[in-house]
Symmetry: C2
Subunit: 327 residues, 2 copies
């Protein structure tokens, strides 16, 4: 694990101080209007993750020489948008912990949690508008539509689907769309950027984001049940078929029939446990990781057109870290 | 009531076709990604109200010669933002009907209702960005913060408060801030506008919005219990003290003590019914209406600096209608 830790430090190093400033700008959105709300926002930001998305924005901004001030604001907008979606997600899923910290809905009423999520959306939109770029603002709004539209589709349509297209669409909406925003938006904060450059940045965000979610979906199978009792292969137990299961079902049509014919819900506990063990022990895990690896490689290649330097190297390290973090 | 109906028609007349186009643009935000979501958005827009806010934007835009195309987009953004807040409000309040139509939460799960509200926020933000004005976008985000921040304050702090400042702050956040957005934003879509002109438009929106909410708060006392069982003076029963009650309590300190000492909740049903009858029969209703009238008059005066014409006259009619609709 040590080498993974080093890799993390490596790609954060060029922007470490800036990530701290991004967090400061996020916290500043608790604007003193209401002490309870301020405390809630502080709690939510304190339980934040690795800040991978704003790191992408900061590194891209550095690589292409975009205005540092505006990139900081953009990075805070991106991470705050991501944070707002988590507040409503945790409420909907009834999750009581996130990264070991109590979620807002574990402590507040559903009503207060809904409104706090809305408030954070509003403040993220304000930060996006503060970048002073209509292009950023339009992409920001489009990304929010994509993320939320994807969640609604997942709620109504995706359960029990073993379509690869459904899977790719779902992880694009859930994760890759936000990475695209993080990667391409700094391009709009630099006057001299060509469409080809913007396409390349978008491609980097897309490929890294897809790889990121694929590896998360592998984690769901390979990690053990966590301390709050979320079981192994929680997605599959909920009827949601992710990449490792898709590979496994290619050679096990009878197990696919069992899952899809029941829409995931009526599969008995014993049958489901047997199926999950079979997937864990099959080559499907490795196949899924190799597919994620291919996405990461394409992400790296998308950077070819940009000048070498510490930020570009860090973006390459970040793409590799996304798939190597559990190997 | 007939004269009120005529007044309504009068101020809508100059923009009637444009209001239809605004509704078309709102409906177009159901983008075909998901049929359930599209149906929900259609339902919500079909149960829409009088479209007073977009009418303000359209009339101001016409009066000052702002780009009609961009004003239409702005008006759709304003009304869709208002609509999104209602989706979450109805869920939080558990309301099953709005304007005689079933609410979304009456038919869908809380989870689906939360996400649909989020999606409508996203589409409203997209329309705001489509106006191509960073000023509009910043004001849009600020207004959303104000509206949601006000709801959070109301949830945590306002119950049982008999402070006039609390009341004004609350109705500003709840209603007047959105009217300000509707009135001033068209100014940003016109190149030749001075700060003084923008201030005057903002003033019109503020005064009309405050009057609008004050009259709604009078309605809460003067109308009878509605068909879904929402009782007369529902706000006061929930511990929320509005303008008619504020006037009444000025001369009835003992009743105020009864309400504030119990935070509204522990007042017995009989005592509360007696109090509400006393407020209805007192001069407080008329005092509240007269205060609303003063706001409407200031709204009309804010238009003095603009050239006479059909749109300006319609804005004057609209301000008067807001307070005359129940007299």
């Amino acid at each position: 694990m040590e080498s993974v830790t080093l890799t993390t430090v490596d790609f954060f190093a060029p922007v470490q101080d800036h990530v701290a400033e991004v967090e400061r700008r996020m916290r500043a959105q608790a604007n003193g209007q209401n002490p309870d709300l301020d405390a809630a926002i502080d709690l939510i930001i304190s339980s934040g993750g690795k800040r991978v998305r704003p790191t992408v924005s900061l590194l891209v901004g550095g690589m292409i020489g975009a205005s540092p001030e505006r990139v900081l604001t953009l990075a805070a907008a991106v991470e705050l948008l991501h944070t707002a979606t988590l507040v409503h997600d945790d409420l909907i899923d009834g999750s009581l912990l996130r990264r070991g910290m109590p979620t807002l809905n574990a402590q507040w009423s559903p009503a207060a949690t809904i409104l706090t999520g809305d408030f954070i959306f509003a403040r993220a939109a304000k930060l996006a508008a503060d970048t002073d770029s209509i292009d950023v603002m339009q992409l920001f709004a489009k990304t929010l539509s994509t993320v939320v539209g994807g969640e609604i589709s997942q709620m109504f349509e995706s359960k029990g689907s073993a379509s690869r297209d459904d899977y790719y669409n779902r992880i694009y909406a859930k994760t890759a769309s936000m990475f695209e925003l993080a990667a391409v938006a700094p391009g709009y904060l630099s006057d001299v950027f060509s469409d080809a450059d913007l396409d390349a940045l978008n491609r980097y965000g897309y490929e890294v984001g897809m790889a990121f979610q694929m590896v998360d979906d592998v984690f769901d199978f390979t990690s053990e049940a966590d301390d709050i009792g979320k079981p192994v292969a929680n997605d599959l137990r909920q009827g949601l078929i992710t990449l490792p299961a898709l590979y496994y079902f290619e050679d096990h049509a009878e197990d696919l029939d069992m899952v899809t014919s029941s829409n995931g819900h009526a599969v008995g506990r014993e049958d489901m446990d047997r199926l999950i063990t079979a997937i864990r022990d099959s080559g499907a895990i490795q196949q899924a990781l190799e597919e994620a690896q291919q996405y990461a490689e394409r992400a790296v290649r998308a950077l070819d057109r940009f000048p070498n330097g510490s930020e570009k190297q860090a973006l390459i390290d970040l793409a590799n870290y996304v798939v190597e973090r559990l190997i």
